[in-house]
């Protein structure tokens, strides 16, 4: 068939022909040029789609003609090339649209678009090349045609950029050429073959092959920007934004790394490369690049430069995936080819938009840009979060597979690299998002426009500038969310890897699906509601959405029998949702508290600012919370977990005052640390459980995996010493949000543990013991510190830590004595349920009681309202607390010390509650409070009643009802309370009560230490002009990072990276220890 032998060539030519035509178009014939542009891009996409369909139907596309004897020009569509070709075609299309908008009115457009076409043509050629020589030809061609694009602006900077670019790429090209010629003379035509071509060759000196490999990688490494060959990339930022986008996301950088993939897999063959010991070196270089470039990125204040360094770092993931030399890592590397492209192109589009519309080039000018350009910054945020590797964005999928792949081949250090890099990614991306969304705009934008001014058109910029980033960001998100779909890049990557390693890895687990649509709806509803916020009419009535979104879930959770699973193989890696006895209780708890908090918010937020923002984060966090409870697969769980954690950031920072900012910073730092640790743990888990996507708490879990899981979820649960964010974040949020944070969100950690730790299967005595110790220390220490708080919400937050300490100890018991776990689990669930509802009620009290007490005739009611939950927490008879505690006690009975400790903890709890009442009383009498409204009353009443009654509804609690009324059951529990009252009275008499430990205890210490370091650095005088220093040395970079962090801090008087650094060091040490 003529199609089959010409289609690849036609695809390459289509871009080139349109380039040639455009080159000849008169400069002023805008319409003609634009239509040619769009037509060319569409044609290309169409042809690629035709080819894809053809390949699906099993046809082989290959264009081949002889160049020299034994040397053919081959263009061929195999799985790997299709991946890259599709990416290029699609991204070209969007970049074209973007570039048309971006370059409106500028000079030399015909030249620009002409070479643009050539560039894509060359990229297509690189992608479709069927042997190394063809690859080389198009690779060099690419250098040539991108050169006019890089220096399109023609100013001094772009001249310099062009020169640097050429010097690097030309030398790289020469080295590559030498390698290819040599290899060709040894091994013949070098047609790409899925399993490599060299292994079968007889009589080849292995040392020569090694040298050639180094030559090839050095040549390709220039474009792939491996250190130390990356120098051109940041300089090339002088090019116009669409060019940067194309260079970084598709064309040049990718061509280099694509070449590495080809060389390693299709020429040398992965097995053979490993035998030759080549992959390790490559992996080390890639890893070094990842870390080094990330560090450099932190020091950049120029947005595009920061993105450039980020590219250097991210692209090396692909090389890393290639070098890890395992099937799973291969998938990760290859899929990152696409993911990084989508995300990075989005970011460059956005950077271009910012520069074009507001003149923003520096990160320091970015404050408040989110409100002025919401679509752009949303797209940017999605891309950035994806880059950091937060699920479910595309970047996570890549990192996930890389991590699991690394474990597969026992290359644990790569996990450390991934973790460090993710942290660094967060360090350089999150401040951008923070500044754009949460900082007020400066007096005017860099281009002189006032922040007050409305955008001129309907959109924030020309639609051609807005559409492409929006779509690519969406694609990046979808690529992650629907990773399991057969249309996703991941599917193709698996296909490619299967080609390389054999087919067993492609199989996606096909579960029989018993549909429980209600489960899906419970997750989807909040999401839909948040999407509905886009509609103005709904925005004006947004608050009412909050309870409305939660109500159906509440009904579902109550009515649905705990049975059946829901599988949606397209979503994530094949997502599963199911409800069983345990998570039914959690779901009821969550639904109840979310519903109540939603109701409460309607009243509470009525007169406050930024309602829509609040609703958005509220709904997203709600979605995450429900999702994580229901999700049975790893990816689904971690996705929803992250969604919840990050959305809560918006809730914590909501009031946007200093305290809230400080709290939010601490919060997000710990979220990121937690995520990173979790990532490491979960990848290990995924590998050891034998399937990459299924959650199974395996019996063969490695020790370190358990440790990481414990630590990772421990962050959420307030396990000391990871608890420091909690007392800061919980009080900072608006009252309903605090209730949620303390009431339900902390339980996510528990859910994680229950689901992923080998509880009940294996005894991991050391960790179990550790948890018991840490748990109880938490219980008592938190009680002590809480006693010294002056803010009611802080007291409650410490109480949460204290209570969670008990839960932690319970899990510790489960870990240590697997045989006890069947008894401990329901007790823990009950305890969590009880604590959730009651703590939420107590947080509402902080706002509700003073309002109630404001009316004299309702004071008694107020006292009752507050006393009942207080007693419940303490665990007085008949209260939910009593049931929960007796359940716990029962399950601990066989352990000597624990019941006693439990009893003692009641004293602490009682003290805390006394302190709470004390503080609350003072504030209630001090401050004027808002009037009560029906919403708040209903909400509070609901929770109040639930806190008293609901636990009796649960069948699990029936065992622990107070059945015999005796002294020991009725009066003994009062003893600790009495003891506590006495103690509290004594404390009040002493000077102790004037002391105050600031919320966040240890973190404050750390901040102090780093403040001293700051002073010391300042004295050294380096940081003064640090931002002007342009020399590239690691030492100076460090100073710059330091100075930068300091500058951020001095601007915001916010938190300190000390905590981050600590986490960092922690991860490194742990990983180092494990190796």
């Amino acid at each position: 068939m003529i199609w089959q032998s010409t289609l690849p060539l036609i695809i390459v030519l289509s871009a080139m022909v349109s380039g040639i035509l455009i080159l000849r178009v008169n400069e002023h014939a805008n319409k003609l040029r634009t239509s040619l542009n769009i037509f060319g891009a569409l044609l290309c996409v169409t042809l690629v789609v035709i080819m894809l369909v053809g390949v699906y139907q099993g046809e082989v596309f290959e264009t081949r003609f002889t160049l020299l004897p034994n040397m053919d020009l081959v263009l061929k569509a195999d799985a790997l090339s299709l991946l890259f070709v599709s990416l290029s075609a699609v991204l070209w299309f969007f970049t074209t649209i973007y570039a048309i908008g971006y370059l409106e009115e500028s000079a030399n457009r015909s030249r620009f678009f002409g070479f643009f076409g050539f560039c894509v043509s060359a990229t297509m050629g690189v992608a479709l090349a069927g042997n190394l020589i063809t690859f080389l030809i198009f690779y060099e061609l690419l250098t040539l045609v991108t050169y006019p694009l890089v220096m399109h602006k023609g100013n001094a900077a772009s001249m310099r950029a062009g020169r640097t670019y050429l010097i690097y790429t030309m030398i790289g090209g020469a080295v590559l050429l030498a390698g290819v010629v040599w290899l060709k003379s040894i091994a013949g035509p070098l047609d790409f073959d899925a399993t490599g071509v060299l292994e079968q060759m007889p009589n080849i000196n292995e040392n020569n092959l090694r040298i050639i490999f180094v030559l090839l990688i050095a040549g390709l490494g220039v474009k792939a920007a491996l250190i130390p060959l990356h120098g051109w990339l940041p300089v090339a930022m002088a090019a116009p934004a669409p060019v940067s986008a194309l260079l970084h996301a598709v064309a040049v950088v990718k061509a280099g790394v694509f070449g590495i993939v080809r060389v390693v897999y299709d020429v040398y063959g992965i097995e053979f490369s490993r035998e030759l010991g080549l992959t390790l070196g490559l992996a080390i270089i890639a890893a070094a690049t990842i870390i080094y470039a990330s560090v450099r990125a932190i020091a950049q204040n120029d947005l595009k430069k920061r993105l450039a360094y980020s590219t250097v770092s991210q692209v090396s993931y692909i090389a890393l995936g290639t070098a890890i030399a395992g099937p799973i890592a291969t998938i990760g590397g290859i899929v990152h080819l696409v993911h990084q492209g989508l995300m990075k192109i989005t970011m460059f589009f956005c950077a271009g938009n910012l520069a074009e519309t507001l003149g923003i080039n520096k990160i320091s000018d970015l404050n408040g840009a989110g409100r002025r350009m919401p679509v752009t910054m949303t797209a940017f945020s999605f891309a950035a979060l994806g880059m950091i590797g937060l699920p479910p964005a595309a970047g996570f999928v890549s990192k996930w597979y890389l991590g699991v792949g690394a474990i597969e081949v026992d290359a644990y250090w790569i996990i450390a690299v991934l973790a460090i890099s993710s942290l660094l990614n967060a360090i350089y991306f999150l401040p951008i998002l923070y500044a754009a969304w949460f900082l007020p705009a400066k007096s005017q934008w860099p281009n002189g426009e006032s922040p007050k001014a409305k955008p001129k058109g309907f959109f924030e910029a020309h639609w051609m500038l807005i559409l492409p980033p929006a779509v690519t960001a969406l694609l990046a998100l979808l690529a992650g969310v629907f990773a399991g779909s057969s249309l996703s890049p991941l599917y193709w990557a698996k296909f490619v890897a299967a080609r390389e390693y054999g087919s067993e890895f492609v199989l996606v687990a096909q579960q029989t699906a018993l549909l429980q649509p209600a489960l899906w709806w419970s997750v989807l509803l909040p999401l839909l509601a948040s999407a509905a916020l886009a509609i103005r009419w709904i925005r004006q009535r947004c608050l009412i959405l909050l309870p409305l979104a939660a109500a159906p879930v509440l009904l579902t959770s109550l009515l649905l029998e705990p049975s059946g699973t829901n599988t949606l193989s397209e979503l994530f890696f094949g997502s599963i949702m199911s409800m069983d006895d345990t998570n039914k209780i959690f779901l009821i708890l969550a639904a109840l508290v979310w519903f109540a908090a939603g109701l409460y918010s309607v009243g509470y937020m009525k007169d406050k600012a930024n309602k829509v923002q609040y609703c958005l984060f509220f709904l997203l966090a709600m979605c995450g919370n429900f999702g994580l409870i229901l999700a049975q697969d790893l990816f689904g769980f971690i996705t929803f977990f992250t969604l919840m954690s990050l959305s809560s950031y918006g809730l914590v920072i909501h009031t946007a005052d200093d305290a809230a900012r400080k709290a939010a910073k601490t919060y997000v730092q710990w979220v990121v640390i937690g995520e990173v640790i979790l990532f490491a743990g979960l990848t290990g888990l995924a590998y050891s459980s034998g399937a990459i996507s299924e959650a199974a708490s395996s019996t063969t879990q490695a020790y370190w995996v358990t440790l990481f899981l414990v630590a990772g979820f421990g962050v959420k649960l307030g396990l000391i010493p990871f608890h420091v964010w909690l007392p800061r974040a919980h009080p900072a949020a608006p009252v309903p949000a605090s209730a949620l944070l303390s009431g339900v969100m902390v339980k996510a950690g528990l859910i994680g543990w229950v689901r992923f730790l080998p509880l009940g299967d294996t005894a991991i005595s050391s960790i179990g013991t550790g948890l018991i110790y840490l748990g109880f220390s938490g219980t008592f220490l938190a009680a002590l510190v809480g006693l010294l708080q002056k803010n009611a919400k802080s007291v409650l937050a410490y109480s949460t830590i204290s209570q969670m300490g008990i839960v932690i100890a319970g899990v510790g018991v489960g870990l240590k004595y697997p045989e006890l776990w069947p008894a401990v689990l329901p007790a823990l669930v009950l305890f969590a349920f009880h604590h959730g509802i009651v703590k939420a009620t107590l947080f509402l009290c902080v706002d509700f009681i003073p309002s109630l007490a404001a009316k004299r005739n309702l004071r008694i009611l107020a006292v009752i309202c507050v006393m009942v939950p207080v007693f419940a927490i303490i665990g007085l008879p008949f209260s939910s607390g009593a049931i929960a505690k007796s359940a716990l006690k029962g399950s601990f009975n066989e352990l000597a010390m624990l019941p006693t400790l439990l009893l003692l903890s009641t004293v602490g709890t009682s003290l805390l509650m006394l302190r709470f009442l004390d503080v609350l009383w003072n504030s209630a009498t001090d401050v004027q409070h808002a009037k009560l409204d029906i919403w708040r009353c209903v909400s509070f009443a609901l929770l109040f009643v639930s806190s008293v009654v609901f636990i009796y509804v649960l069948p699990e609690s029936r065992l622990f009802w107070l059945k015999e009324f005796s002294f020991s059951t009725l009066v003994l529990p009062l003893l600790p309370l009495i003891l506590a009252v006495l103690l509290y009275l004594i404390i009040r008499k002493t000077r102790l009560q004037h002391y105050e430990i600031p919320a966040g205890d240890i973190v404050v210490l750390l901040e102090d230490v780093s403040a001293r370091i700051k002073v010391a650095t300042a004295k050294l005088g380096h940081h003064k002009n640090a931002s002007n220093v342009k020399k590239y040395s690691l030492g100076k970079t460090y100073v710059k990072i330091k100075a930068y962090i300091i500058s951020i801090e001095s601007e915001n008087s916010g938190t300190h990276p000390g905590a981050v650094l600590l986490g960092f060091i922690f991860v490194v040490t742990v990983v180092a220890y494990l190796n």
């Binding site: 020469a174 010629v181 091994a187």
Partner: protein, 508 residues
């Protein structure tokens, strides 16, 4: 097929006749018309010769002038290689004639140009086709004097001095060659190349003759360090003349050096000599490229680039060490050089034409004063870029294929040090090509803007240049065909005869 053989003299006689006609009519338009028609005719003739040549059994056609045959008479000899050279000549002549018809249209120089032009072409064809060493001497003189005369029509003082210097060098070279002819005739009593090839020995006289021929022809070819005359001469001539000088004239003498070393006087040639030639070639690559990089005038830069490219040609010799082919013009190295000749000819002439266009527009070719040029003659810059890419050896171009073949040969013969030379030559080429392009693209502080434009040029001029540049690209895709017709193609057996071990041995 005999009709083709009978038409062989037309390669020389038609240009001569056209030259006389042009001289007699003394009218520019008529000259142009005759020239273009004849150039087209020559092109067709050469193409059909090229296509026909391989249908002959030996791949060789011979034509005896005056019917005497060798050794008494003079014969023309066409092999695949020379047919390719002739075809290349005719092709370039056609394009350059079209170009010149516009380039010289407004000038009295045209009347002088056309007759000389055709005499030069007659000389080139005579050189490539001749099988008689004395006839080759006469052809050399025809080429040399015509070239000098063509440079001298520029009539500026530097051009005249360059022409004079070139003339002296050319005469010196010719005399050395003639002395060698005398020695050879004295020793062997025949002047026919093919006959000589059968009877030569490694006598002292033959060695001396080979030495004299090498020195004399290296002077003409401008092999480093005997290149001193070239930059001024090639840089000072008018654009089409520079093009033909760089593209073809130097190749003529190179062809003969190769012919004598590898074929006619092969018994007298030593391996050491072959390698020394290669070393000078390497010197030329580096020296020429570095000087091109620092040249302040565009055409001088291009001329120095020719010096460097000639250096590549001389890498042929070391690569032929130990060549077992019976026919000297076979073998992978020869294929590489053939390709390089073609690639360089098209690319370099395209480059000179582009430089000529720029000079026409700007009135000068001082590189520093040409910042921002790209807006005023984009097509010429584009052409320059493509041709430059071919010179650098970037794919897809003929230059890339040539360089590929060279590299591949260097590696298979275990002479890896040439790889370094070739690659650094390519990098240096990139440096000077892009140095100019960089300036041309500069937008800020441009030294060249609308006010500096001296004259407008006819669109035919840049199109001719572009056609040649595109030709280098097209040739990059037809490598096999070209090697087939040139008869240099030898199918190598992959991976055999060469393994890593013996390379390692060489490296030690």
């Amino acid at each position: 097929m005999d009709d083709i053989t009978a038409l062989l003299p037309a390669f020389i006689l038609l240009p001569l006749a056209v030259s006389v006609c042009c001289l007699l009519v003394n009218n520019i338009r008529v000259c142009v018309a005759i020239s273009i028609i004849s150039a087209a005719a020559l092109l067709i003739l050469s193409a059909s010769t090229l296509l026909a040549i391989n249908t002959y059994e030996a791949g060789i056609l011979r034509y005896a002038f005056a019917g005497w045959g060798q050794p008494l008479g003079i014969e023309l000899e066409v092999s695949g290689f020379t047919a390719l050279m002739t075809a290349l000549t005719c092709l370039l002549v056609f394009v350059l004639s079209v170009y010149s018809s516009v380039y010289f249209s407004s000038s009295d120089k045209a009347l002088r140009f056309w007759p000389l032009w055709w005499l030069l072409i007659a000389g080139l064809n005579a050189l490539f086709l001749s099988s008689d060493i004395f006839n080759i001497y006469v052809a050399f003189e025809l080429i040399g004097l015509a070239a000098v005369a063509l440079i001298a029509i520029e009539n500026s003082r530097p051009a005249l001095i360059a022409a004079l210097r070139y003339l002296l060098v050319s005469l010196l070279g010719s005399l050395c060659y003639l002395l060698a002819v005398a020695l050879l005739y004295r020793e062997y009593g025949t002047l026919d190349l093919a006959q000589l090839a059968n009877i030569t020995s490694d006598s002292a006289s033959s060695t001396a003759a080979l030495m004299l021929i090498t020195v004399g022809l290296c002077l003409k070819t401008a092999l480093f360090p005997l290149h001193f005359w070239l930059p001024a001469a090639h840089g000072g001539a008018s654009a089409p003349v520079s093009a033909v000088l760089s593209a073809l004239v130097v190749k003529g003498s190179f062809y003969l050096i190769a012919r004598f070393w590898l074929d006619t006087l092969a018994p007298a040639a030593s391996d050491a000599g072959l390698i020394i030639l290669g070393v000078f070639g390497a010197g030329a690559i580096l020296w020429g490229s570095v000087h091109a990089l620092f040249a302040s005038r565009l055409k001088v830069m291009v001329a120095y680039s020719t010096v460097a490219q000639i250096g590549y040609l001389f890498l042929l010799f070391p690569l032929m060490v130990g060549n077992s082919q019976t026919n000297a013009f076979e073998g992978a190295a020869m294929g590489a050089i053939t390709y390089l000749i073609v690639a360089h000819a098209t690319a370099k002439s395209a480059m000179f034409l582009a430089a000529g266009n720029i000079m026409r527009i700007a009135g000068h070719d001082n590189i520093k004063q040409l910042k921002g040029l790209v807006r005023h003659c984009p097509l010429s810059i584009f052409t320059f870029g493509i041709a430059g890419a071919s010179l650098i050896g970037l794919p897809p171009s003929a230059g890339f294929i040539a360089k590929w073949l060279l590299l591949s040969n260097s590696i298979t013969t275990g002479q890896w040090w040439w790889v370094i030379v070739i690659l650094s030559g390519g990098l240096l080429a990139a440096a000077y090509v892009f140095k100019f392009l960089n300036l041309a693209f500069t937008k800020d502080d441009d030294t060249f803007n609308k006010a500096n434009i001296v004259s407008k040029i006819s669109p035919i001029m840049p199109l001719c240049a572009l056609a040649l540049a595109l030709l280098t690209v097209v040739l990059g895709f037809n490598a096999q065909w070209l090697l087939d017709v040139s008869g240099t193609l030898v199918y190598e057996t992959t991976g055999q005869g060469f393994t890593g071990q013996n390379l390692a041995g060489v490296a030690q």
